[in-house]
Symmetry: C3
Amino acid sequence: MKLLHEDRLFPADPETRAIARRLYGSISDLPIVSPHGHTQAAWFAHNQPFPDPAKLFVQPDHYVYRMLYSQGVSLDDLEIGVPELKNPRKVWRIFAEHYYLFRGTPTRIWLDYAFHKLFGLEERLSAKNADHYYDTIAEKLRTPEFLPRALYERFKIEVLATTDSPLDSLIDHQAIRDSGWKARILPTFRPDSVVDPDFAGFRDNIAKLGGLTGEDTGDWIGYLRALEKTRARFKQLGCTATDHGHPTARTANLSRDEASSLYSQILKGSTDPKQRELFRAQMLTEMAGMSVRDGLVMQIHPGSFRNHNRLVYERYGRDTGADIPMPTDYVRALHPLLERYGNEPGLTVILFTLDESSYSRELAPLAGHYPCLRLGPPWWFYDSPEGMLRFRETTTETAGFYNTVGFNDDTRAFLSIPARHDVARRMDCAYLARLVAEHRLDEDEALELAHDLAYNLVRKAYKL
Amino acid sequence: MKLLHEDRLFPADPETRAIARRLYGSISDLPIVSPHGHTQAAWFAHNQPFPDPAKLFVQPDHYVYRMLYSQGVSLDDLEIGVPELKNPRKVWRIFAEHYYLFRGTPTRIWLDYAFHKLFGLEERLSAKNADHYYDTIAEKLRTPEFLPRALYERFKIEVLATTDSPLDSLIDHQAIRDSGWKARILPTFRPDSVVDPDFAGFRDNIAKLGGLTGEDTGDWIGYLRALEKTRARFKQLGCTATDHGHPTARTANLSRDEASSLYSQILKGSTDPKQRELFRAQMLTEMAGMSVRDGLVMQIHPGSFRNHNRLVYERYGRDTGADIPMPTDYVRALHPLLERYGNEPGLTVILFTLDESSYSRELAPLAGHYPCLRLGPPWWFYDSPEGMLRFRETTTETAGFYNTVGFNDDTRAFLSIPARHDVARRMDCAYLARLVAEHRLDEDEALELAHDLAYNLVRKAYKL
Amino acid sequence: MKLLHEDRLFPADPETRAIARRLYGSISDLPIVSPHGHTQAAWFAHNQPFPDPAKLFVQPDHYVYRMLYSQGVSLDDLEIGVPELKNPRKVWRIFAEHYYLFRGTPTRIWLDYAFHKLFGLEERLSAKNADHYYDTIAEKLRTPEFLPRALYERFKIEVLATTDSPLDSLIDHQAIRDSGWKARILPTFRPDSVVDPDFAGFRDNIAKLGGLTGEDTGDWIGYLRALEKTRARFKQLGCTATDHGHPTARTANLSRDEASSLYSQILKGSTDPKQRELFRAQMLTEMAGMSVRDGLVMQIHPGSFRNHNRLVYERYGRDTGADIPMPTDYVRALHPLLERYGNEPGLTVILFTLDESSYSRELAPLAGHYPCLRLGPPWWFYDSPEGMLRFRETTTETAGFYNTVGFNDDTRAFLSIPARHDVARRMDCAYLARLVAEHRLDEDEALELAHDLAYNLVRKAYKL
């Protein structure tokens, strides 16, 4: 049995499948544009080999270990949060033994893709072949072909955006540029640490921001100027977008005096949760205003209840698989921002959701009207075959294809990037093929759309 | 390439498609019953030619220009809100140039249908053939075959309901009757302007209502009597239904004294939003009571955040594509009305939603129990192939087919009526064909159902 | 025409159907494990013949008569709530005449299955053959093959759980054991009547609970002890699970003093709805704590607005088809319970929902992380082909298959048990077949999964 079938993810109906094949064949070799993700610029700055298989595939991937944990595997046994793995082979064996848990999940598809395409493995991972997998992968990782820069080129990546704090010096991004290596690795301005009063160390962060920019961040105007300067610093290294990960999509439209006074209270720490939520809301609108002026594309990623499992958070830290989606309102929440900037010609705001019920009800109707709005691709748990299909089925009829922005891999797992883009391309072709087979679209249009969804729209939306 | 394939919208699987074809073949020629829409009685009263293509297809259709606006086309360039188009050909060219934006949308299906079936056009609209389209359409519009009454007959319309204010004299409806033309064009009683305190000019409208009916609308009892008299006036011109477009589905069950006192406050204008919402809620229950007595079928269309884009509203007015759906509760909201009238034998209340998550959770369970409730067809943004499929998939198993009421075209675009009914018939046949192919229904039952869904249920539900 | 096609519910695409057939063929004969339902232990204790067809198929089944009522059939004519039917043949004829209303519903599938498999009927029920049906069924019901124990064996039931009040003596369960009949019929601990202050007779029930256990239930500690003792009594008769049917999923985490004081107020009756909701919330957490200690699996069934139709409730009582689902929050609601017990190794909490929008947004992400959580199968209105498909499509990619627990028939209608399990098995095979046909799963894995979903997972989750 082969790990990857050439027709994987295509509809079973033979005629529809044949159309999907033709569409996919026309785009499968396009370069990868990755405008949003969580790879590390340091990998490419230093170009050191990736460590062992467990460190590569298990430890950084909360999709993997949240499933194992849900079925009773101990996070300690998986050495989660341990900087240097003590027994990577043991971790790998636990993973292999539980690989059947991933049946029907996108994680399985991404992993099989990497196992097969990168490491030439042919047989499904299981307890039996765990050591063979481990040895094969470990050996390849030591070769020059598996250094980060070599993989970047092998993956045919055209642009790769990272996600960075305003407090980051971007030294690794600078080093990549200085190295003369011809790759386009760009920072993204992610200001949560300095705009969310509930972020750990918020007030220290504000002070650091002042230090880095030479502005008096103790004052509302100085604070805004510090943010503007930092955005300009990011832009100099190629940044084209900002990213905002608030608990809700709420925005506000305070007067300058109200905002200034709220900021003072926030800095004093004498606020309640409502005021902190109002501050985050106002900051989204401020960021939109700055985007109108400096042209950075704005991404809003709301709706996650972070660190839902306190015990896991306290022992293993943030981003450990215990962030859970919540119902998310957009129609009322975005109204203040849209009332102020919604008709600005130069502005682009890309909306994401973890609440799929909002696609047909709120997001597609909003994006099908406001010139500044675009729909981000299905995100996080929905970055999956069914999630992608539901996204197209619930947004296309109201917002069309051209208010969407192509695919984001959004990953911490560098090796999964080609697999994730491949899934997105196949699912878009599967959807388009169905439209063609049902005579809702002509095949020449579908060919053009396949190319737009895989390549053109992302470049346009993110100004790449 | 042909604009319309004879198998369009049918499932690709050959056996299922063959069943769908047989079902559709048995109903494709049935007359159109259109119990809810926004065409103008004046068209049929005066029977004047429709003006140019832009005025016909672009200017009145917010489905069309909301999409263009979302992609940066200026509403001024499209001459939206301009009573006499200055440069209809220029507007048409902009439209044609952006026609690709409608790929995958129902608008595209409706337009292609009209272009092909009415105007004999064979090639997909684009910048290249914009003028050919314009000239072809403009020429035909000047012929007698394209006068409103001729089209009504050509479309095989059996009944066509308009939507009318209680303040409307219905003079055009009267004129149609007086003309001796044998068509059934009926008014629908839509009282938002006189039951919603937030409606522009509400208090003036109440005064006018008093004038028209000879009742003292300064008083609760007189106000109710004025509404009853107006309903009776509508009934005399064939009206069988009322229509209620509230922001929410909330109903109330106040005592006569409470209602009377709330009405006094409303008239004084000394109310807050909660009281105005309570008044709308009470009025739904009052309307249900009147329906119990006079037999008018009640339609409830809740859940739209109207005029979300203030700038567009101020410049271009209402109904310009910036109404956005909101989450809508039915189970608690309708409870007061249902507690009072839910088991009345003669009452019919047809529920619509813009929140598809309520179909399986609330609407189908409600309609599958209360004898007065029926489910309206998918509405507005969901009047589309995927929307129709989701409607059947999420309601049939709990409410069955017989608690639904056939199709509403709900359109301002007269020429799209046959296209919209055709899409609904095809999608219902597609769904039924799947049930037959999966042996969940026998084909003789599906044939009967296809006929019921296209023709019988709407006549029964709307008492036509 | 045959009532049951051997390929029913399988996808129409020939290749996918062939896979589904193979998968189903490998599990269709597995024994039935029914861990949650509402059959009566008394039937098996006394083993008396079931009465007439109307009493068997119409009177106890609110799925049946809610549909008839929604279409104007009088509940009095159906003799709902009448202990001894006066005219069962008349009731049956009304039912037969309206059988077409069930087209497209799971009720139709279940009934056709029983009519055909148990009674050998071949022709679709209608007004024409109503008497033939009645006579055929009535005759068979008088034979020994149709006694409850004979049917239990014929259905190949391996385990059957009932649902029982803590105030129930479980005398029938004891009698079954004492009879020496080798069947595994187990009680389930359903404490609503003694943990929900809004339950009719709550305070009397608390007093009875004290009497039955010899504990002072006037006191918080005595009350908890009484519950623990009752759970132990249930366990002695084989009970492995508890079941909790609260209006919401809300949980709380009060200190012992707070809880004790709240309980005193509850007993005094001097509480408002918020306090009663808080008490229910606290009791879910208490029950989870007891489950940690005694190992009973905890089922949470939230989200129903009970007795929505007051008139029907007053005339015909509870559970008469007027319970309507509501939007249900899990992420915040379960947080207190999960914070306290979510990482306990021995605990199993099975979550159900009537709000399908929560599957992909909340339930799958929660179950794909917390080791104690599992997803119950689609419940109530969603125990249907489309409901089952949506369940798999919206949960598998995030929670996998192994965080689900197989099927619950949850029925009061004993004769529908094999039909319901058959539908679940077919739909799981249909879903798996699609994954195989789309090369998202290998067929050997699908075969293993089919067996797990039909048989292994339920035994493991419910500790059977």
